[in-house]
Each structure stands twice: as C-alpha cells, then as structure tokens.
Assembly symmetry: C2
Homo-oligomer: 187 residues x 2
C-alpha cells in the first residue's frame, strides 16, 4: 500500500457510515498499527440527510486528515455517487450499493447489493458491515482479521453473530466478484 | 461564540470519548445547524490505550479540521491532562474528571467527578455523557436541547433513561459549579 491511502464512505444518514468509518479507522489504527485519521463533516448538506465519513491511513504521521483525492469511494446511494465521483483518483476503487445505485458511470464500478444482502440476513441496518467486508477484501486497506476485531468491538451488544454474518457475506460477495473478473480477463 | 471553536476530548480507550465526540458533532452540526468537523486520530500512542477525539465547530465552512489551539480541553485522566494542557488556549476551559485527575495545574480547572457520578447512577460507562452535559453547560458550544437529541439518537437502545439521567447529572454539576464560582466572586 502507498504511504497515504484515502477512503471516503458516503450515503444517506441512517446508513451507518459514521460507525463504518470508526470501525475502519480502528481496524487500521488499533489493530493493524497504522497512523489513521477519521473525519466526519456536518454542515447545511447534512441537514438534507447526506452522510460522509473519511478515513486516511498512512505508514507515517498524518499532516492533513481529510481525503484530498480518495483511493476508494464507497457510495451507498445514487446521490452520493453523483456528488463525489469526480474526486476519486483515476485508478481508484469505486464501490457502490447496487440496491440503490442504478446509474453506473462509464468508467465502471464494483456494484454489490449491500443493503439487499443485509436484508436477507434479517437486518437492513447491517448493510454498512457488509460493505466494509467487501471494501477491505477489494482494497486491502485493512486486514480482514483486524476488521473483524474492530467490528466486534464496536457493534451493539447482542448483535455480534449477525454482524459476523454480515461481514462474511460482504467478503464472499467481493471474492465472487474478483473470481468473476479474473475469469473475464482470461477468456 | 467566535467563528471557530475547538474542543478536544482526551482520556483512555474505553472511556467513550469517540462516541462523545460524535454526539457533540451531531448536536452542533445536525441540530444546531453549524459547520462541524469531527476527527479522531490513531497511531502508536493509541496502542498504549490513549484516546482522543476533536470537534471543530464554526459558523463558516471549515478549512482545517483538526484542533490547533483548543478552546476546551476535557481530560478524563491525569495522563491526557499532562499531555494536552500546553495546547489549550490561555483563557480556554479546562474540564477534568476529578475521579482520576489528582494534580490540577496552577492555572486552575473545573474538576467534576464524572466517573463517580456515573457509577452512582449505576453505569460507570456513562461518564462520557455526564461530562458532555457539563461541557455544554460551561462552554455553550452546543445547546442543551440539541445535545439531548444527539445523545438519544446515538446511545444503544435500552439505555435512553440512564443516559438522560447522566446528562442531567452533568448539567446539574456544572450549574452547581457556576453558582459557587459566582458566589465566590461576589463575596
């Protein structure tokens, strides 16, 4: 991984992106031993129901804690994709919740129905954890072991089993995507 | 309040300061309608069990999201007080948990036993909410109404009653302090 790695998580309020940002930051900072800054901003936009969290991971101390040109954009709805796509690094990873994002940009995206997967597990609110599993698998930003530890340390008591399943489902969906894209390249 | 108002919350991991930072940021950003940046940093220090969250509140868009010279320092233990005191603005508000902080600097501090108060309410982990009640009362950084809304939106289900009591206890302790210091000034 490069010295500085920037991740932006965007969607609507209630999709659990602030918690997702904290879990990602704790996975990298407390368990992977990196320097991490985790930021969320609120302003007039937030009152419209938008939510955004950023995580900057580095091997060195971090001077500027906000994402400048994200390496990863997780867009949990169409509006956040439309708003933030232009900031993404040209070869960056675009990950979208296919449950809500219907217009994929011409440059492509990894589209996985995080919310539908979480619903099928019995709890729509776990979509953020499904997304984290996929994001970590595809980006390598944090180790899966640290992510799992961080998830279990932060989710509400009594939801550990559900969240373990959500994480595993996200990892499986991402692996399925990787396998499929490898096959596409070969044939 | 000045255009830019900086708050640093510091203590040990497990004292709930990251959640406290988010609650404070949401009170200011979602309910008081301010611009807010909320940051937490992790690095080698975090592995030693230290925890720090920062909230910057402004009437205008925020360029630099980290605290430069905090207007408020909440120190939940002695080590965090010793580490961060020198950054505090000369006329800034120093608020310490008197349960754990025994050496108050010569320049003074508002010392309230947040953890002991929370313990007496039956849940030591609510010390962060007691502290938020006092911090908001003494600093005016967020309105008490917005703080209450933000607390109830973020604490785990089933803990609303306890956290309402914790918030009220923090507000009462701060008001008692204000009354006492007013009396001291008059006589």
């Amino acid at each position: 991984m490069a010295k500085r790695y920037e991740i932006r998580l965007a969607g609507s309020g209630g999709q659990g992106l602030i918690l997702a940002g904290i879990i990602l930051a704790e996975a990298a900072g407390l368990y992977d031993g990196k320097f991490v800054c985790q930021t969320q901003s609120y302003g007039p936009a937030a009152r419209g129901g938008a939510s955004k969290a950023e995580v900057v991971i580095s091997d060195e101390e971090i001077d500027y804690p906000k994402a400048i040109q994200p390496d990863v954009l997780l867009a949990m709805n169409q509006k956040s994709l439309d708003t933030y796509l232009s900031d993404l690094k040209p070869d960056g990873l675009l990950l979208v919740d296919a449950t809500f994002v219907t217009e994929i940009p011409a440059t492509g995206a990894v589209a996985i129905p995080f919310t539908r997967i979480a619903r099928e597990l019995g709890k729509e609110m776990a979509a953020n954890i499904v997304a984290l599993g996929a994001l970590a698998t595809l980006s390598g930003a944090v180790t899966l072991k640290s992510l799992r530890t961080a998830v279990l340390a932060r989710v509400p008591p009594g939801t550990a089993e559900l969240n373990k399943k959500a994480l595993a489902a996200g990892i499986a969906a991402a692996r399925k995507y990787l396998k499929k894209s490898a096959t596409n390249k070969i044939f």
